[in-house]
């Protein structure tokens, strides 16, 4: 499955869901997929985004699903997704979960 380009606004990072757990992950500069968006590889230009997408797609076989490149906003060292949907993916539901013994 090829990646979805949800928005062409630069800069972009690659996000997906971990294949085994479904957890939201971002592709880091070392090629590892991890939970922290601030450690994601950031594509500043279109050619860099295409390259990032190509490399990320190789991970669709066994590591991740539902790959997408998403626009981010940078404020100094702080990185966050641009769209509300992606902010919620990055930080979790905006509501309090009903149980206290949340499983990690």
């Amino acid at each position: 499955m090829s990646a979805k380009s949800k928005n062409s606004d630069l800069p972009l990072v690659a996000t997906a869901n971990d294949l085994r757990t479904g957890a939201v992950v971002y592709r880091g500069v070392d090629g590892a997929w991890q939970r922290d968006i601030s450690r994601a590889e950031i594509a500043e230009r279109k050619d860099a985004a295409a390259d990032l997408q190509e490399r990320a797609e190789t991970d669709l076989a066994v590591r991740v699903a539902d790959l997408a490149l998403i626009p981010i906003i940078r404020d100094g060292a702080f990185v966050r997704p641009a769209a509300l949907r992606e902010i919620i993916r990055a930080t979790g539901p905006t509501i309090e979960l009903p149980a206290s013994q949340a499983r990690p």
Binding site: R89, L97, A99
Partner: protein
């Protein structure tokens, strides 16, 4: 309650083994996501924003205590200690790990549950009146027919690749508590002048981006013809339903485009042509299934209800609970208790594992081991003694499940919205929470009276906003959440689709807007007994539009 026979056990066991193998092949890379996705969907596994979601079928909304305890066990051991009951009487876990799904399915099979046909373009879980077998106004228990339809439709080879998903609902009373006119097929069990059992058949209802009220294609379908007639409808749909455009693929579009007369004629022609040699539903087969839904051993001698009477007189909160959450039962001395999953400020439909266990214990002790799930995202104890109600209420309070708000403004239907759902455009749960907090005062809620607010986070309308007395639809407007309000919808036997009242509101403004609508209703109602929907149908939308928008003109 229906119990699996050897065919059911084999079918579910085989399916678990098959899906376990498919998951292993996906995780090893042998299957691509494109190959795997339709397979996981057939087993109720979606990929949502934060994790996989597992949707578990609760056929016709009936659960035993043992099954509820299994759901609690799954919540505790495989998810985040809670589950979410949906508007189709199913349960969803929102934090499922794909690698653990096979184990979850195997555990579900132990208590005769599964996730088959909770997704995909097939006949989905058959829903029914949540008061089935208990309500005083019932002609016959609709669950026997729902079970027959479940058996007929499970893995039916001809109807496993329909143009789109297909939903059936069955009621057994004139009062529609299952929203049958918003289903692809709705069935109302009734008797004809000769006293024979049969069905009124409705076809082509649905919500989503093109809401439609179903058309009645048969006023009385004799019971023996049920399966053949369902086959005829499905064959017409399978043959002529659109496959070129997903948004126009539901049977409601076919019914709309063909017209009522033509679709009826096509169904009747197909029905006439069907070889009924093996398609007649014999009475003894119905009776065999009905035996599974036989009434529990009710006590027939009731010598007063002193504990119940005393509690009503001395405990105003208990009395308020009885007024809202307790409904008449067909047996003297018994009652139906609705358990609200809509606490003030909570998430509609959510329940913790501790609460699942608590309600399972209560059902086991007081309700013949039986529970129901309503399409309005509440639970039901269908058969409880009036005399036991004070004890049940105390137990529900202990479990924080005693909110006395059934049918009131805070009893809100709400989809998961953008907090969980990959299809959503806007959040719906926070809107529901803020609305319930705004109207938290029980006295104010009782003064407002019956009022159904329904909220969807996108046009797919899982929150049934089209049939809300007040419907709220979340949309994305240039990257910001925006909420459109509809008025006058209803999902009952007087089914109507709500009308858009005017331009939408911001996330901040929508709560005030709903309060303005409610205050307008309170001013214009003729008597306190005239409920919101009746008042709206009498006066139309003009007074509400004026109250909402006059200052902006």
């Amino acid at each position: 309650m229906y119990r699996y026979d050897e065919f059911d056990h084999d079918l579910v066991r085989d399916r678990v083994a098959e899906f376990s193998d498919q998951v292993a092949r996906r995780l090893s890379g042998e299957l691509t996501e494109d190959q795997f996705k339709p397979l996981r969907l057939m087993n109720g596994v979606y990929l949502q924003l934060h994790a996989y979601m597992l949707r578990i079928a609760v056929p016709y909304g009936t659960l035993s205590s043992r099954q509820m305890r299994k759901l609690a066990h799954l919540a505790r051991n495989y998810d985040r200690d809670y589950g979410h009951f949906t508007t189709r009487q199913n349960l969803q876990f929102h934090w499922t790990k794909l690698a653990e799904v096979p184990k979850m399915l195997a555990e579900l099979a132990e208590v005769e549950m599964h996730c088959i046909q909770t997704s995909g373009n097939c006949i989905r879980n058959v829903t029914a009146d949540h008061f089935a077998g208990a309500s005083a106004d019932e002609i016959a228990d609709p669950r026997a027919y729902a079970e027959i339809l479940r058996q007929w439709s499970s893995l039916h080879p001809e109807f496993s690749l329909l143009p789109r998903k297909f939903k059936l609902a069955v009621i057994g009373a004139p009062k529609d508590r299952a929203a049958i006119q918003t289903h692809d097929i709705g069935l109302e069990v009734k008797r004809n002048a000769e006293g024979e059992l049969g069905f009124a058949v409705w076809v082509g209802g649905g919500q989503g981006r093109t809401p439609m009220i179903a058309k009645k294609v048969r006023d009385f379908l004799p019971e023996p013809d049920l399966i053949a007639y369902m086959e005829a409808i499905l064959r017409i749909y399978n043959q002529f339903g659109r496959r070129d455009n997903k948004f126009k693929a539901r049977i409601k579009i076919l019914v709309h485009e063909m017209g009522e007369a033509e679709i009826k004629a096509a169904i009747e022609k197909e029905f006439a042509a069907i070889d009924k040699t093996n398609m007649v539903l014999p009475r003894d087969a119905v009776e065999r299934i009905e035996a599974y839904f036989a009434p529990p051993p009710f006590e027939t001698r009731v010598n007063g209800t002193p504990a119940f009477d005393r509690a009503r007189e001395t405990d105003s909160e208990f009395s308020g609970f009885v007024e809202r959450n307790v409904h008449p039962h067909k047996m003297p001395g018994y009652a139906i208790v609705s358990v609200s999953l809509k606490p003030i400020g909570g998430t509609p439909g959510d329940i913790t594992s501790t609460q699942m266990d608590a309600v399972a214990d209560i059902a086991e002790q007081f309700s013949f081991d039986e529970l129901r799930v309503s399409h309005e995202q509440n639970l039901v104890l269908p058969h409880v003694k009036l005399e036991d109600l004070p004890a049940i209420y105390a137990r529900l309070r202990e479990a924080e499940l005693a909110t006395a708000n059934l049918g009131l403004v805070s009893d809100i239907i709400c989809c998961p919205g953008l907090d969980y759902c990959s299809l959503a455009n806007a959040r719906s749960i926070p809107v529901a929470q803020r609305l319930s907090e705004r109207f938290a005062d029980p006295a104010r809620q009782r003064d407002i009276g019956e009022l159904k607010i329904k909220i969807s986070g996108c046009i797919n309308a899982c929150g049934h906003h089209h049939v809300g007395h007040i419907g709220i639809l979340g949309v994305d407007r240039k990257g910001e959440e925006f909420y459109q309000i509809t008025l006058g919808g209803s999902g009952d036997e007087t089914c109507s689709i709500g009308e858009i009242v005017g331009k939408g509101f911001s996330s901040e403004g929508v709560i005030d807007a709903v309060e303005t609508i409610v205050d307008t209703y309170l001013k214009l109602r003729e008597t306190p007994q005239e409920d919101f929907l009746s008042a709206y149908r009498r006066v139309g939308e003009a007074p509400f539009q004026e109250a909402l928008y006059a200052h902006a003109a």
